[in-house]
Subunit: 385 residues, 4 copies
Amino acid sequence: MSRKIRYGMIGGGRGAFIGGVHRIAASIDQQIELVCGAFSSDPQRSKDSGADFFLPAERCYANYEEMIRTEAALPADKRMDFVSIVTPNHLHFPAAKAALEAGFHVLSDKPATFNLAQAKELAGIVKATGKLYGVTYNYTGYPLMRQARQMIEEGKLGEIRKVVVEYPQGWLATMLENTGQKQAAWRVDPAICGAAGCMGDIGTHAINLAEYVTGLHIKELAADLTIFLAKEGRRLEDDGNVLLRFTNGAKGVLHSSQISIGCENNLSLRVYGSLGGIEWSQLDPNTMIVTSLDKPKQIYRTGLGYLGSAAGAATRTPSGHPEGYLEGFANIYRNFANHVRAVINGTTPNPLDMDYPTIEEGVAGMAFIEAVVASSANNAAWTPL
Amino acid sequence: MSRKIRYGMIGGGRGAFIGGVHRIAASIDQQIELVCGAFSSDPQRSKDSGADFFLPAERCYANYEEMIRTEAALPADKRMDFVSIVTPNHLHFPAAKAALEAGFHVLSDKPATFNLAQAKELAGIVKATGKLYGVTYNYTGYPLMRQARQMIEEGKLGEIRKVVVEYPQGWLATMLENTGQKQAAWRVDPAICGAAGCMGDIGTHAINLAEYVTGLHIKELAADLTIFLAKEGRRLEDDGNVLLRFTNGAKGVLHSSQISIGCENNLSLRVYGSLGGIEWSQLDPNTMIVTSLDKPKQIYRTGLGYLGSAAGAATRTPSGHPEGYLEGFANIYRNFANHVRAVINGTTPNPLDMDYPTIEEGVAGMAFIEAVVASSANNAAWTPL
Amino acid sequence: MSRKIRYGMIGGGRGAFIGGVHRIAASIDQQIELVCGAFSSDPQRSKDSGADFFLPAERCYANYEEMIRTEAALPADKRMDFVSIVTPNHLHFPAAKAALEAGFHVLSDKPATFNLAQAKELAGIVKATGKLYGVTYNYTGYPLMRQARQMIEEGKLGEIRKVVVEYPQGWLATMLENTGQKQAAWRVDPAICGAAGCMGDIGTHAINLAEYVTGLHIKELAADLTIFLAKEGRRLEDDGNVLLRFTNGAKGVLHSSQISIGCENNLSLRVYGSLGGIEWSQLDPNTMIVTSLDKPKQIYRTGLGYLGSAAGAATRTPSGHPEGYLEGFANIYRNFANHVRAVINGTTPNPLDMDYPTIEEGVAGMAFIEAVVASSANNAAWTPL
Amino acid sequence: MSRKIRYGMIGGGRGAFIGGVHRIAASIDQQIELVCGAFSSDPQRSKDSGADFFLPAERCYANYEEMIRTEAALPADKRMDFVSIVTPNHLHFPAAKAALEAGFHVLSDKPATFNLAQAKELAGIVKATGKLYGVTYNYTGYPLMRQARQMIEEGKLGEIRKVVVEYPQGWLATMLENTGQKQAAWRVDPAICGAAGCMGDIGTHAINLAEYVTGLHIKELAADLTIFLAKEGRRLEDDGNVLLRFTNGAKGVLHSSQISIGCENNLSLRVYGSLGGIEWSQLDPNTMIVTSLDKPKQIYRTGLGYLGSAAGAATRTPSGHPEGYLEGFANIYRNFANHVRAVINGTTPNPLDMDYPTIEEGVAGMAFIEAVVASSANNAAWTPL
């Protein structure tokens, strides 16, 4: 098959944030092509948005149902191969379900669904249809996070004991949602974003990254969530602190916030085992500190020859050329599209390409969200996952 | 009174760590003089240790009882003014009690006592004797921590919402206590150091600093302590994660560890209020990040003119001359000695000199230790302080 | 005009480095389309390289002359709009000349040409043909470098006094060129890369960035270049230190190296004026320190609201999503393509889009290279530019 | 000899800066005792200054001549052992000469003298009297600089190729000397501080450190010095850039400044050899980056077990307790005093104690100052040292 993989986008019209990120991520490697979209529930806005990327008007649909129906009817050599879902959370499930059942692969923004029940149902649909499903827990796409995972898999850090993962932000320290800021508005609306605010938007990224890197799973957690701007009218937590217990006996802490003024996307991960540790921050993603017993710390840097195969496959330039958020995100797209291509071609996918978050991580993310909400409602009682 | 303030030391003989720190802290400003000591329970070792500092043999005592008795009998112009206690924890209380009751002021290493009951008893003795008592929660001596406290007092950060305080170390990631390392040995022995390991040794520093800077008090906490080397025979926790609730409604996280390989004394503090935040790390103590709504972060640096009076009084050199742990520690000594001098002279102490941890902080530290231990024993149940 | 801007690439076949960077940079914003290429002097390699991006074989040419001739003969709605030149240095001039004279705009990798005489000739050709010409001094594409330029233009730093610009690398600390490493081989061959090694490859980037940000020009320089691996057979300098004097009286230092082991692309720029300064490092490109008289330093961060229009136009995501080398590079492509589009449409370009390096910077870069080489040959004598 | 080493201080009265630093440095280790001083040319100020440290009035002299004469006449068990000179530069030589010739050892602040001729004369006096002479190029006292020196001596970095040393400050970006700031006033007065401003005050520290760490000597240099505030009336350079050539063929750059706003004492040193490099900054003195061919960079930290004997001997606390400027300065004092003690005792000094700057470094510093001034006066001509 000598052509780009074709996708259609649901959501992501003018003024959206994450839709633009997905389109860049899809474009970087020049292996994926945007061929259609239902960018907005406003038909004209959908057309205008598509025109920004030179799509023909007839492939800029008024809604995802129309898009899926129409595309499914196109000849195989025109039809999109997969759907990218970048709507607010409450639409993730119906759009994914419709696409999968119409025979399209799906790559969805996170969280996978609006609630855990939907996620479990979606897992069944993925299994039943046999279509590919990915969810963009994109921080796992950073080369050094893949390096960390590989090192831990290989036992370089010994038995994992302690995990500290943080994701503080400060953008919601005031009632930004009352100022017409669209990104803020839907993220604080439980009817659109679901049972959790801060934890659903970013805490879930942090936990996904911690589990990805360590290969561990959370056994139970104790969460203390707070709505600091409750008096001002906010209804979902804008801060949370969580104790973590992992299945292997490791312990951890997660804290995440939207009211920590000055914090941007300060996702950071520290993991310590019986032989050493790793320390990484998303704001300087090409640097990872590696610690060992009785030796100087080492500074691992993206793009250098001493890194393993997983990091190497996730890097586009030699060391010294900072790669960032968009490239990490693009690694999810690249792997997913390569998997799609292998399926189309009937070939065995490259194992390195299989490294993207699937419905399994999607379900785990929803389980985490429901667990922190339940724990916090129960005065931080230990709650199993 | 035109002379140095005179002190005697209990503990701190050859091979000790914290005793040497106290002696340097006392010496830096050339206002305090070591005149005697009971440096070791081995009389010869006590004499040898004193000789290292050119003390006459007759003032190197075999035990603290002898020292207190003999010094008390000396004429006023020779007698020590205060006692510095730098023994392992289990001796803090009896030594402090004996000294206070013999009429000596006391500056003790932390924690104040072996357990909370002793601390409360000691508070009574301090009150009854009217002598000064200080406890070296030394991290409050850093100029920028005094700056942070002053800024928060002045309302620069608004209402405090979130506190993240950490103190990870890695030195006990293996059974160092089995290798003859004296510092490790007593710190893991519950008969000597008390009910907590990691939390008593360093977690208590972290909490003291958080309360000092914010002016807040912890209302309740939920602690999950772990002995990662329990199988190898360790009996006290070497790691702990704690959820914090402050009396004003602020929330927080404390995590502390002795098994986080590569961490030294990585004490750090982050505080966020409704108007801004501060971020500080002990490993780079002369830098503090100050955040504000919608403005660039600022880098506050020790020794610069825009700092307030509290930081200014705690600094010895202009900016660009890194001051460190020993100078911060010396700030506790300087303030305490200035207070002693004011008492001797019958003058009103400078309010800036009153900034050192007292028995109140000593009791609070012991209450914290007992609360984390109790909470953890109760599966991280919320435990009031 | 509702279509992507079309380009053909000269050079950049399989195994090349900078060609891939250009293709990503062109793709990120989905406004530019690769339609043809002369990727290699080996016709099969050119076809294979094009096939990696799904180009039809007939538009994968065996050499640039064929490409330019054939494309020029295509109908306007298929023909490429501009040429991207990513060959080694010695081919920049003939390729650019041929393209311009055939009516194509040109975006060339740096340095503009093999020597200064060619650069001046090329400037004449650009003028004569009226076609657009850009040269990818890509570090000017970083948002914070645009912010710095704007701040200096607006007088925020006062009169500029001191410039420190560095670009150390360590990759040529050994004779890598003897190991079959293709990138190393041509960069040390004076017949291919020109009169300078280190200074032509990276020193020229550093100087371009310093002049871009400050708006100043170098009046004269004194350069001390060294071939540290001369005994091993290297013929071009792998290190250089340069004193700089600017036309306004400012002074500066440039040092650049290929033998500073552990350095990657450690380009950094510091500029100090009478009112304040800026400090920036390419390895952490989303952070810039801004200094002012008697005030705390400030940390400017990409994507935040207090930045000016130039930085804003060069950013794709909100703060906290690290953008890097590829996005900065893409800013050059985006601006150039927007200018091309305006020319095609006959509209007035957005002034922000005019911010890309042109033949003027191309000539300046070659003049710098020849000046440092001449100065160093003359024992670091002051040499005018 | 069981007593502290006794010293008298020349200069350093109330309001001085460096005198206080010397006194702290002398006190930290409790092995040195201040017994007298000629703290000020104003006799009352001298007495008041001494009283701050509880000196008897009769040992607070009105001038250094009186002090040296009177002390020399005291019985051996009271007399000072050495003199510490902390006056402005123009008095260094006469005070040192007088002290040495009266039989006292001398530890002087830098630069050694007012000009090179004096330094050479002083070297003769040191030799003739057989007394010890040290000069407080204090940055060599940092543990990690001793580590770096040891590593280079042991060949760990291979043949040294490149040295980058900087010492920018910003405090004289305005005419601070006109505001009554005493530290500024004398440092810009050629009658008091000598032929150079910035280069004499701090550039000389930078060069001393570079030579100390590398073990190399400068063969020749080319300096471009500037008085940026010349129009405002300043008479000595406040900025300088210097090309360096070392005797072994290594090349380097020094830049130093007093007008780089926001810089404090930003002394930094980078050294690269054929096998690796070191990178260090005085503002974070307990961290040193060590680079090696093809391996991750390493972070060396003060106080850890993998450091060598030289660093170990220069450290007072375990890792994680930041030691700073005062402790580094104290290492010079400690070594000097230990050497004095060995001389008094007639014993062989510990080789590690011999590591302090002597008259040789004093002469080299003055030669550097005269060379940069001469070179700059000659339009940055290469000038031998």
